[in-house]
Structures are given as structure tokens and as C-alpha cells.
Amino acid sequence: MPLTATTAPPFVTVLVRGLLAGLIAGLLAGAFAYVAGEPHVDAAIAIEEAAAAHAESAAGGHDHEDALVSRNGQRGGLFLATGLFGAAMGGLLATAYVLLSRRRRTYDDGRAGLLLAGAALLGAVIVPFLKYPANPPAVGDPATINQRTVTYLLMVVLGLVAVWAGSLGYRAVGNDAPTWQRAAAAAGGFLLVTVVSYVVMPSFQEVPDDFPATLLWDFRLASLGTQVVLWTGIGLLFAALMHHDRRRRTAAALPST
């Protein structure tokens, strides 16, 4: 029996759940970043300030560390940034959830939400991160910031395209094929787009020679961890909220998935 439109919640309800899941997950990601990332940001800023003091004569171009916001203010602002960013991502996930509802192959709302969040983590975070990893303060040439921002955004789009290509491959092989063949088609589609993107997109080598490699690694791990916490949180919370809703709305038993 197909589900009728009346059993599904309206768009605004789904959107509010996405925003809520995103806000909470964003604050959790902020807490993770505060504990795991802030020490590395502080260490990198110390290096940046030492370099700036060294090149005092060339002052003026880069007013990054003026007193507009104190370091404590920036540590608090971390939670504002991750909270707002999380809410925006949760809202976009909820929107995608509704827009893609026709293409779903599962009755399970929670499963659909989790799959979507996993796709976003892979396509919008992990694929771009491996090409353009996060940089701490003191790493990166301010002269190329616009170019790096555009290529980063393009890489996010290409990562999502790669995931989409993977899901196309998975579905193209068909239900009757063995699972390994469907998985191989998915991996093939995903890797094709990812590898071509990595080769075609420009690279930036802007880490100063004397920047500590261990600090760079630790910072990048903390940054990736922040995004993983964010998207894991969004997926789980959104799935939990949608699951609750479906159970409340459908008295009739649905075919189990």
C-alpha cells in the first residue's frame, strides 16, 4: 500500500525539525571544537603573531589580530558560529529530505534522514577536506583567499555530485543484482567524479616552511572531527525526530523495511 500524502508531515514541520537538530548538533560540535581545537588555534595564533611582529615594517595589509574581538570573545563566538552553521545545515538537509522524497526507496523516515546526512558528510565535508584541508591561523596566503574560497565551494558541489553519481550507479545496476555489484557500481561512480575533480581542481601549497607539522595535523584532525560531530549529530537527531513523528501519525502497520 503506498503511503498517502496525509501521513507525511508538512514541509514547515520537517524544516523546524531540521533546524532544531542542526542547532543542537552545532552546539555539540562547538563543544568538541572548544575542547579539541582551541588549544591548536591558540598555538597557531602565537606563531602568527610572532611572524607579524617580525615583519612589523610591512604593517597594514592584514588586520586579522586587531582588538575588535578579544580572544575570549572569539572562543565564545565559536559556539555562535557552529550553532548558526549547524542550524543552516540542518535546515538545508530537511529541505533536501522533502525535495528528494519522491526518489526515496525506503519507507523508514529515520533511515532516509540518516542516509541523507551520511551523504552530506561524505560529499560536502570529507571529499572537499581531502583536497582542501582546513588551515589554522598563520597558514594560507591572504592574497589567494578569494580564489581558495571559490574553489572550496566548487569542491563542495563536486563532492555532492560524486555522491549523487555513486547513488546513480547503485540504482542503475538494479535490485536483482548481488549487493557487491551494486556497491561496486556505487564506488565506481563516486570515485570517478572524485578523482577527476581532484586532478582538475587547482592545488594550493601555502604552509609556511617553519610551521610545525604536528600542529598542522592536530588542528586538521580537530577540524575534521568538528564537522563529523556536526553531521553525525544532525543525522541522528533528525532521524530521531522524524521517527517519532511517523510513529505518532500512522496507526496502521506499514510494511517493514
Binding site: L3, R75, G77, A88
Partner: protein, 67 residues
């Protein structure tokens, strides 16, 4: 996993133009919010560099190119 072969949408009758505009407005607002957190340097928020500096650490740790 069960397969939906029905043409019936699982969530919405997507033909409705009101829904379309709601979705478009939502995406626009959320994109603006993302821009303010991740990329703005005062040009949109009209706050000078205040918001940019306030969310500096978040931008770095979310992995967005910062400077």
C-alpha cells in the same frame, strides 16, 4: 529494503507552487545564514569586521578558508 514503485510522493504533492516558493525562500535564507557565518567580511552584515572576527575560530575549525 522495500521499493516504492508508486507515483505517489512519500511526503508532498510537489506540484504546488506555494510549496515551491516556501522551499526557495527557505534555501535563500539558509544560504544567507551560511554566508554570514562562513564567508562574510562585513559587506553583507554591515557590521564591519565585527561578526567576521567574532566567528573567526568557528570558521577555522569548520574548515572554511579564512585568510
Amino acid at each position: 529494503m522495500s521499493t516504492s514503485t508508486s507515483s505517489q510522493p512519500l511526503v508532498h504533492p510537489a506540484g504546488s507552487s506555494r510549496l515551491l516558493w516556501t522551499v526557495l525562500a527557505t534555501v535563500a535564507v539558509l544560504s544567507l545564514l551560511t554566508y554570514l557565518v562562513a564567508f562574510d567580511q562585513g559587506a553583507v552584515s554591515r557590521s564591519g569586521m565585527y561578526l567576521h572576527e567574532l566567528m573567526h575560530d568557528g570558521r577555522h575549525l569548520l574548515g572554511v578558508p579564512c585568510h
